[in-house]
């Protein structure tokens, strides 16, 4: 059998707490093929970000480990590029310089100056941001910043793209737009992607598999839902598609029936629509 591209094996992590160690994650097992798009979904505090940080190497596992191409990962590196939730651009650099910092670091000694410039411009063009390359992050909108964050990650030519709720802070229209861009780019470059999301529609629309996590402490993978909808996917056509709605239903039932947060809700809040059910 072919070895998986990225493997999470028996992954677990404990944090030291006041009353002994706090087990945040345990027994997370997942095998991801090259070019696969995985969504991690679960309630807040279930350890989704912890999984992503373990793969990124920003956290160290207590048990088990992460294997990329059969090699253990225990430190951060550009082959596992991260797109952060709040873009994390350097505010004192222009859009171009932000991408340049990454490109210079990753391709030092491999690309010549002109090649680097072409590569930076190519990646900015991928996210349709070349028109703003001389602007600073403070001068562009939230959606544009997130695009630049994606361009910076793509410019590292990563084997795995890790996205921590990349569109969480954006309004619904911008989010839909960026989701379409991301699908297009992923179809073209065939990146392996792990994306954290709270948004059920986003997960179903973008993913090849949805990994649903149980509530913490000692969170782990509850169910894995393969999404076999044909690509390219069109959000408008899918809105009436029975299979699509079936997938949505499965995710929703996992989140709000099987893994309902046990905290009692005040009666007023219970009447409001639950977060994550809004349509993209």
């Amino acid at each position: 059998m072919q070895k998986p591209h990225l493997e999470l094996s028996q992954l677990g992590i404990e944090f030291p707490g006041a009353n002994g160690p706090f087990i945040a994650l345990q027994q997370v097992d997942l095998q991801i093929a090259r070019g696969e798009f995985i969504s991690l979904i679960g309630h807040s505090g279930c350890g989704k970000s912890t999984v992503l940080n373990l793969v990124a190497g920003l956290l160290q596992a207590t048990t088990g480990g992460v294997l990329l191409n059969n090699k253990e990962v225990n430190a951060p590196g550009p082959e596992r590029a991260v797109v952060f939730q709040n873009h994390s651009l350097l505010p004192w650099l222009t859009v171009y310089q932000n991408v340049e910092l990454a490109v210079k670091q990753v391709f030092r000694g491999q690309k010549r100056k002109a090649e680097m410039r072409d590569w930076i411009e190519h990646n900015l063009a991928l996210v349709q941001m070349q028109h703003a390359s001389d602007r600073r992050p403070a001068e562009i909108s939230g959606g544009m910043k997130q695009r630049v964050g994606i361009a910076r990650a793509l410019a590292m030519q990563p084997e795995v793209l890790l996205m921590d709720e990349p569109f969480g802070a954006l309004d619904a229209l911008t989010r839909a737009h960026l989701q379409d861009s991301l699908m297009e780019i992923q179809a073209r470059l065939n990146n392996t992607v792990i994306m954290i999301t709270h948004d059920v529609d986003e997960a179903v629309l973008l993913s090849d598999r949805i990994v649903m996590m149980t509530n913490g402490p000692a969170a782990t993978i509850g169910e894995v839902l393969p999404i076999t909808l044909p690509r390219p996917r069109n959000r408008i056509e899918l809105a009436d598609c029975a299979t699509y709605n079936h997938y949505r239903h499965q995710v929703l039932s996992f989140l709000y029936e099987k893994q309902r947060k046990i905290e009692p809700l005040p009666s007023q809040a219970a009447l409001k629509p639950a977060p994550g059910v809004k349509r993209a």
Binding site: V82, F84, S88, W92, A102, Q105
Partner: protein
């Protein structure tokens, strides 16, 4: 202190049509003029009522008179200096005409330093002290800020020395300088070194503390970016930490410069080192009928120079800092 205000303030301002902006600006000027006029009037009225051992307290008119007096004195002194050198040159020319191989010495002019010479000395001293303080505080702050252990080790010392008054440092520094700074042909006079070191010791704390805070407050997201990119220590410092800390560092520098100027005047007064402080002290000891007015001139000039130094720092900040949203006031 610079504070960050919401962007919409700036945006709302740029919406204003040009004419409205001009109107607002002229209004500001008018109000400032009213404030100054009211102050001068109160001063004038109150001053006449106060009688001191040196006559009645000077009002704005007497002070303005003394200002012209000081300017005239400075002009006279310069004319005397020019005449002194003119006489020397004439003498030298005559000597050379007699004997072309004559060895000539150009004697320096040793006149009394005027008010404006004292200003020059003070400015030079404060800048030297401030530059030295910054050169120590910024690198030290960065190193301390990057290490939690170093911070824990040095913080008690910083907190201990920060509140020490310049007047307490001065005797120690004077003794130390006269013990350690001994040379046949010194570059700087001893009094200059004493003043500079006092200014440095008192003014480096705000820059040091603000640099530490700035370095410490690099967002964890940017630190993660740096880790993912595997930036080495030096690149991390140069590309992530230093720019993050720049707004804080400037806040510290502005506070430091203000303190440096205040400390300098006190140090000059106490140690009889040349400068504006000595001018004030000399006038106080002099006790002539003009003394009070002259001291008032010095007070106003000291304030004005402090104000200008602060504005200069602001200008530098607006040129060098990337954070243009920080409202500069």
């Amino acid at each position: 202190m610079s504070t960050t205000l919401p962007n919409r303030w700036l945006r709302a301002r740029s919406w204003l049509p040009q004419r409205l902006k001009l109107q607002r600006l002229s209004e500001q000027f008018a109000l400032a003029a009213v404030g100054i006029a009211a102050f001068l009037l109160c001063w004038h009225l109150v001053a006449g009522q106060i009688h001191t051992s040196l006559g009645s307290f000077p009002g704005p008119l007497q002070v303005a008179e003394q200002w012209s007096g000081l300017v005239a004195e400075h002009r006279q002194e310069k004319a005397r200096e020019a005449a002194f050198f003119e006489r020397q040159h004439q003498r030298h020319a005559a000597a050379l005409a007699e004997d072309p191989t004559a060895e000539l010495v150009l004697r320096p002019y040793r006149g009394r330093p005027t008010f404006f010479h004292q200003i020059q000395t003070s400015l030079l001293t404060v800048l030297a002290g401030f530059v030295l303080a910054s050169a120590i505080a910024i690198p030290t702050g960065m190193v301390i800020g990057l290490s939690n252990r170093l911070y824990a080790a040095s913080n008690p010392l910083i907190q201990l020395f920060k509140p020490v008054s310049p007047l307490a440092w001065l005797p120690l520094i004077t003794i130390l300088v006269s013990a350690l700074y001994q040379s046949e042909d010194p570059w700087f006079s001893r009094s200059f070194v004493v003043s500079v070191l006092t200014v440095t010791l008192c003014s480096l704390w705000p820059t040091l503390l603000n640099t530490i805070v700035g370095v410490n407050s690099v967002s964890s997201d940017l630190n993660n970016v740096s880790k993912v990119l595997r930036l080495n220590w030096w690149t991390h410092l140069r590309r992530i930490v230093l720019p993050s800390a720049i707004p804080h560092i400037f806040t510290g520098l502005r506070l430091s410069l203000g303190i440096a100027w205040m400390v300098l005047i006190a140090a000059e007064m106490l140690a009889q080192n040349p400068g504006l402080g000595k001018f004030v002290w000399d006038e106080f000891q002099n006790g002539s009928s003009d003394s009070l007015s002259r001291i008032c001139v010095a007070v106003l000039v000291i304030g004005l120079i402090g104000l200008l130094l602060d504005r200069l720092m602001l200008l530098l900040q607006s040129k060098l800092s990337w954070d243009k949203t920080a409202v500069l006031r």
